[in-house]
């Protein structure tokens, strides 16, 4: 039964094979059009990749910026704290404290009409400090609370809030 069906299908299979083997005629410029289409698709794909990369970089930058802001905020410097001392007869006044590693050269005060002063930008925190007048006289700040001191020199403390 199967052999009879195979024999009857032989002409049909022959026609199919023949049509598949027949040369395909294509119009003039078909190859060029196909190649141009391929080039357009490749260009579009490259553009999408570039757009994706740009969006990715922009998103990463935005996230990094937001992260930096969030990290910075708790330690953001204060707008400015002015340290001032009335010392009319002094020839030199320096500010010395936790914020400058107790370095007498870091923050000299500037003589003004009524007092010596300097303004520093400080991060939030608690800072101990003193004034040193004319290189040897340690003075606390009369405008801020005194600090407990283990070393026997007048010391003040300032708290800078967020």
């Amino acid at each position: 039964m199967d052999e009879e069906m195979d024999a009857s299908n032989e002409p049909l299979l022959g026609d199919i094979v023949g049509s598949l083997r027949a040369p395909v005629s294509i119009g003039d410029g078909a190859v060029e059009r196909a190649m141009a289409q391929l080039r357009r698709e490749a260009l579009a794909a490259r553009r999408w990749r570039q757009v994706g990369l740009a969006v990715g970089i922009a998103a990463a930058l935005v996230l990094a910026f937001i992260g930096a802001l969030r990290l910075r905020h708790p330690l953001a410097p204060n707008a400015g704290v002015t340290f001032a001392l009335a010392a009319p007869s002094a020839s030199r006044v320096v500010l010395i404290g936790d914020f400058n590693d107790w370095n007498p050269k870091a923050n000299p005060l500037h003589r003004g009409a009524r007092q010596w002063s300097v303004t520093l930008s400080l991060k939030p925190g608690r800072y101990r400090y003193s004034y040193v007048v004319d290189g040897s006289s340690w003075q606390a700040d009369p405008g801020t609370p005194p600090a407990d001191d283990e070393f026997g020199a007048p010391t003040s403390v300032i708290t800078v809030a967020n």
Binding site: P74, N78, A79, V81, T82, F83, A84, A86, I96, D98, D101, W102, N103, P104, R114, Q115, S117, P124, G125, R126, R128, W138, G143, T144, P145, P146, A147, D148, E150, F151, G152, A153, V157, I158, T159, V160, A161, N162
Partner: protein
């Protein structure tokens, strides 16, 4: 190819470096420059101990530099750093491992000024941890200024229990201690316009 560090290993090292305790990375150059070898080694050991316990090291270095700048002898410097380390450790125990440096420093200052550990623990339960530094600092200031402990504690505790802002704590401190308000962003008194005289009684005797 030149022998050297693999870029990935270098990048990993740079990323991990800040996670290492500071004392294990290098000796603090400021201590090396300003302290004599004896006290420097003792202070550095304390700094390393703090780093190993994940306590802040910078306050300890600053305390040593403060002592040096004030001409204190080595024994006093080392003792002061040692005591500060102990107070920072106590503050850490009271407030927990997530407490930041500002809170530990303020807590240590409050302990030094005479606040009891119990009072600090009570205060810490009233406010979120990130907002503890200023109330603690103000408590320390009040005690250091000679305000009676009971008054200082009740003033700070009342404000904390009402959810006061940091600026309100600083205003309280200024009011009680006579500080000039500079820490609240006000200019020094000499640069402020003269305030109007307080109204007096209409008919003075």
């Amino acid at each position: 190819m030149k022998p050297g560090i693999h870029p990935a290993a270098l990048a990993a090292s740079l990323l991990l470096l800040p996670l290492l305790p500071a004392g294990l990375v290098a000796q603090d150059a400021r201590l090396t420059a300003r302290l004599a070898p004896g006290p420097r080694a003792a202070v550095q050991r304390l700094v390393d101990s703090a780093a190993a316990a994940r306590l802040p090291t910078e306050p300890l270095v600053r305390k040593a530099l403060e002592g040096e700048s004030k001409g204190a002898d080595s024994t006093r410097i080392v003792l002061a750093v040692q005591r500060l380390l102990a107070r920072l450790g106590t503050a850490r125990q009271l407030f927990g491992p997530e407490t930041n440096e500002a809170e530990l420093v303020a807590g240590a200052a409050a302990l030094q000024a005479g606040a009891t550990p119990e009072s600090l623990t009570r205060l810490s339960t009233l406010r979120p941890r990130e907002r503890l530094a200023v109330p603690l600092s103000v408590l320390a200031d009040l005690l250091s200024s000679g305000i009676p402990a009971g008054q200082a504690w009740s003033s700070v505790y009342d404000m904390a229990s009402h959810g006061a802002a940091d600026a309100e704590f600083l205003a309280l401190r200024d009011r009680l201690t006579g500080a000039d308000g500079r820490q609240r962003g006000l200019p020094p008194p000499a640069e402020r316009p003269p305030s109007a005289p307080l109204p007096g009684p209409e008919h003075s005797p």
